[in-house]
Every structure is written in structure tokens, then in C-alpha cells.
Symmetry: C2
Subunit: 177 residues, 2 copies
């Protein structure tokens, strides 16, 4: 998974994948059938891990707003790190695969939508907690947060420092209030 994560779908070679998985060639094709299938499994697993973890964090948070704030601030603070340079597999894949119509492309789109859905739940809860105006459209605000996170990740990849990223994050979060 880390191989697809760091190098992207097309550029990840089967040799890299075999080495990372400590697996023989035939074992991989016996277990997954193709590079495409392996990618689909890796992406789904990444998504379920991510969404699951974020969901638990959201539930454990004193308020949905502080969860969103913490998520964005932590991401910004990560500027310059190895993690920030690699980014997020979901946004990486969406950017690389675009709308090319095959299964990996559609799966990437689905994963972006799953992130938006997570954000939507957070927004709805923040509305019920009085932190966001309940009359505002939760779905649009959620998509806005997805756009903010996707853009932030691209900014970090372009080499922005933590200061710059943090200022931007505060501007993004201002919209919620």
C-alpha cells in the first residue's frame, strides 16, 4: 500500500510491490490476480482505515468543530515532513487517475466522496452543537472542507512551510463560523 501511496498507481512497479510485500511474483498474482486488483484492495483498505480512524476521533472529540479544527491544524503543522510530501493516497489517486473511467479511477472518486460524507456528519453534529448555523447547507460545507483538505495537501506537496499552511487553515476554518 505504501508503494502506491508514495509513487502513485501507474508508477508503482510490480517489483517495488513484491519487495514491499515480501512476496513472490506468483503469490501476488495468485492472491490478487492483477496490479489493478491489488491497487483496488489497497485503496479500499486505506480508505476504511482512514475513515474509521477519523470517525472514532470525531466521536471522541468534545465537539465536532474542534475535531475539524484539529484535523486541519495538525495537517498544516506537518508541513515539511515525509508524510506531507507523500500526501494522502485518496487525493493522490483522484489527482492522478482523474476521470479516466476505469475501476481505479471510479474507486478514487468514491473515496473522495467518502471523505466528504465524513465531513458532512461532522458539520451536522457541529450544527446541533451550536457551533455552525443550522440553516447553512451541510453538504456544501462538507464539500468545501474536502476541497480545503485536497488543496492543503497540494500546497504542502509544493513545499509550503508550516507557517504559511497554518495561516491558510485558519482562513479555511473561518468559513465554518
Amino acid at each position: 500500500m505504501q508503494v502506491f501511496w508514495a509513487r502513485g498507481y501507474d508508477s508503482a512497479s510490480t517489483r517495488d510491490l513484491l519487495e514491499a510485500m515480501q512476496l513472490s511474483r506468483s503469490s501476488l498474482y495468485q492472491a490478487f490476480g492483477s496490479k489493478e486488483q491489488l491497487f483496488l484492495e489497497a485503496l479500499r483498505r486505506y480508505r476504511e482505515n482512514l475513515i474509521g480512524r477519523l470517525h472514532r476521533q470525531l466521536e471522541a472529540s468534545p465537539s465536532a468543530l474542534t475535531f475539524v479544527e484539529g484535523l486541519f491544524r495538525d495537517t498544516a503543522q506537518d508541513a515539511g515532513s515525509e508524510r506531507a510530501a507523500i500526501g494522502c493516497l485518496i487525493f493522490n489517486s483522484a489527482s492522478e487517475l482523474g476521470q479516466r473511467g476505469d475501476l481505479p479511477s471510479r474507486e478514487a472518486g468514491e473515496s473522495v466522496r467518502a471523505i466528504t460524507e465524513l465531513f458532512r456528519q461532522a458539520v451536522v453534529r457541529a450544527q446541533s452543537e451550536g457551533d455552525i448555523d443550522p440553516h447553512r447547507d451541510a453538504r456544501s460545507l462538507a464539500t468545501y472542507l474536502t476541497v480545503g483538505m485536497a488543496g492543503l495537501r497540494t500546497l504542502l506537496k509544493s513545499g509550503a512551510d508550516a507557517d504559511e499552511a497554518t495561516h491558510v487553515v485558519e482562513l479555511i476554518l473561518d468559513t465554518l463560523r
Copy 2:
């Protein structure tokens, strides 16, 4: 250039490039020396075209704010088109090449910064025109717009429709006012 644009740096094969440029193998290597050099030239040319065009649009605009608004709204309205699926070479490259340290990667980062600089000029002018509070930090607002555009492009690649994108764009633009 369209080849790098549509397929990315790594995945663009020399054969595709030759065909698109109507050029023979030896001619390409005589003229550019390597695929990397060719990419650098293509990216610089794309950037100068883009920045130049946006600069002219900005100058021709009745106000800097309407220029920014028009740019974002037009991009959102493009949802579902071929153009939107391909995205922007600069953000595509920044996302693909990340911080991997080589020349193409650094050039992609520079190009993102060039976009931010264009936005900064627009913000400064909008401040002088009374559309944006002059006390706000123009540089942060400019980076915010870069993040908004990068995120918007990722959203469009993930298959969002024009309605969704337009709502998000209005939220992005609200921050300026």
C-alpha cells in the same frame, strides 16, 4: 505539452510525445536532450502562458475581485468537461512530483508559487479598490486562493458536478469579503 498535461510526467511515454509533436526520435533528443528537459520546457511554457493570460485578464477586469470571482466560477462551471478531467498541468505536476527533490519537482513547486503571486497581486488590487479589507494579509489570502483552486481541481477530477462545485466556489469567495 498536452501529453504531459493529460498523462503526467512519469506516465507520458516518449512515443506519445513524438506522435503529438509530429517529430522523429532523434529530432526530439537533438532539440531537448532528455524527457526531463522536455518536461521542464513544457511546464515553463504552460506556466508563462497561463500566468500571462491571467495577468491580462486581471488588468482588463473592471475590478480585481470580479476577476477572481469569474476565474473560480468559470472553473466550477467547467465540471464534467474534458478540460476539467485533465485539470491544470501545474497542480497535476505538484501532486504527482511532490517533494521528490529533482528539477521537475522543484519547477512544479515554483509554478504553484507563481500562481500564488498572481493571486497576491489581485488581492492587493482588490484591497486598493475597497473590495477587500486592506488590513488583512494579502499573502495569506493569496495562498488561500491557491489552495481553493487546487482543491477545486481535485474535486472536479473526482467527478463532482457543476452545482456542487459552484456552491463550494461561493463559500471560497465568501472568505474574501
